[in-house]
Amino acid sequence: MTTGILLQIAQTLAAILLAPLLMGWVNQCRAWLQGRSAPPITQPYRTLRKLFHKDAVIAHNASPLFRFAPYMVFACMALAAGLVPTIANDLPFSPAADAIALVGVFALARVFLALAAMDIGTSFGTLGARREMLVAFLAEPALLMVFFTASLISQSTELPTIVETLAHKEFVLYPSMAFAAVAFWMVSTAENARIPVDNPTTHLELTMIHEAMILEYSARHLALIEWAVALKLFTYSALGIALFLPWGIAPQGELNALPLAVLALVAKMAVGGAALSLLEAISAKVRLFRAPEFLGTAFLLGVLGMLIHFLLEV
């Protein structure tokens, strides 16, 4: 039990600490693919340090919610990172929430961020919040469909059971998971404000979604939000790995599988990050009014995955 708790803490901490590294790696890959000279992989850490050392500037009419939101968002992401089986499976904390609750945790963070964005009353903040809610409103059902497909296979919505079924039982090809995987990729680009739904590097008012919400933040608040963004990307990647490439995650109580699990995780994250930047490089950002179409497709693919499951795998 103690080892379990220790492992749980270690995994969560590792996620929090490594998340900016993944972000740095993605940015680096992207710079290479675009033919730019790449920033060092540790660039996100430097940005965070710089931001933490600055003095926060806050609008006069900001309510306490505005100050509170970054902490809430960060906490939610840290919680989510603790829930997803990253290195070891079936940690003591995982029964606290299943896949559906996990979606709720993400939603909670989003609600606070959107409220904070509207708090100051600038037009950009409201615009960003509105767009974010539009995207989230479409992305969440699709994400749920992906989870349902996986749950139907393993007959449980608990993430550890899903990983257990997919990784540690007899190998079976699940066609439904192929659909779920495509849907998941589409949803995660939307949720993480990546191309083709949003562009993390743009500050163009016509297109930005996520960046518009956090324009008013500075210093440590901004640092926390940036960190939470990196953590969200990390958690989503871990989630994707857990659902679609779960091989290597250490089964419950097998400590000697841990080194291999860590190695597998690093390798998968590296490949995943590179793939993400590659996909971003080759796809164009869709116009905002096409985003519903994009996410609608993701939802349909999720539904199709379930249908396929009923047809082929029962």
Binding site: L173, S176, V182, T297, L307, L311
Partner: protein, 222 residues
């Protein structure tokens, strides 16, 4: 979960799912070249799955069918279409007549319909790949939907050929393929059909200076 299928049959199931996925991708594809590429991929999935079924059930005539699909639908026809598109210079973004999300929703409804329709039949089938019959049926209906929603000549024809793909897949999955002589006949017909079409495209373009079928809506009941 009571899955006791062998691996190659899992692969066939997987390819069946891919076939459906590609059918949906075709529905949402706006560009003709993209459509041709997807069509080639669909042919490849079909050919591969036919070959695997042939291998796993030791049905030799299916190898010919697989080879035929590979040559015709993966190499010859896409190549021909690419050339046609280039020659006729028609590759632009085309908005379908019904917007894409609606089309996709109709598509899902069709898939559910097809699965339900296929269920009693696949229960009777003796083949190991029977559960894919529903997918084949769904691909046929989706291709049909694509034909209805497109107003350009080439996408309509690709829809038609995708429909044929679905039919071939149905034949493979439900009955291990049709008798060889029938399959050869069908392939011959498809081939002739495509060439007739090629001639036809040029005639249409010569006359209308476009391949948009919207110019061809004069013959109607008043």
């Amino acid at each position: 979960m009571t899955l006791s299928l062998t691996y190659h049959l899992q692969v066939v199931n997987f390819l069946a799912a891919m076939l459906l996925l590609i059918a949906f991708a075709m529905l949402s594809q706006r560009r003709i070249v993209g459509l041709v590429t997807l069509f080639a991929w669909q042919g490849a999935a079909l050919s591969l799955s036919t070959a695997i079924v042939a291998w796993s059930t030791d049905q030799h005539h299916l190898y010919y069918s697989a080879a035929l699909t590979l040559i015709l639908k993966v190499i010859a026809m896409p190549w021909y279409f690419y050339r046609l598109v280039k020659k006729l210079d028609v590759d632009r973004d085309v908005e379908p007549m019904i917007n894409i999300p609606t089309t996709m929703l109709i598509g899902i409804a069709l898939v559910i319909f097809a699965f339900n329709l296929a269920l009693p039949i696949s229960e009777m089938s003796g083949t190991v790949t029977r559960s894919t019959l529903g997918i084949a049926m769904a691909s046929v209906l989706l291709a049909f939907l694509m034909m209805i929603t497109r107003s350009k000549a080439i996408p309509q024809v690709i829809g038609f050929l995708a429909m044929e793909n679905g039919l071939f897949f149905a034949a493979t999955s439900a009955t291990y393929g049709m008798p060889l002589v029938v399959e050869l006949g069908v392939a011959l017909d498809v081939l002739v059909g495509v060439f007739v079409l090629g001639i036809f495209f040029f005639q249409i373009r010569e006359t209308f200076d476009s391949l948009d079928l919207k110019h061809m809506e004069k013959l109607k009941e008043k």
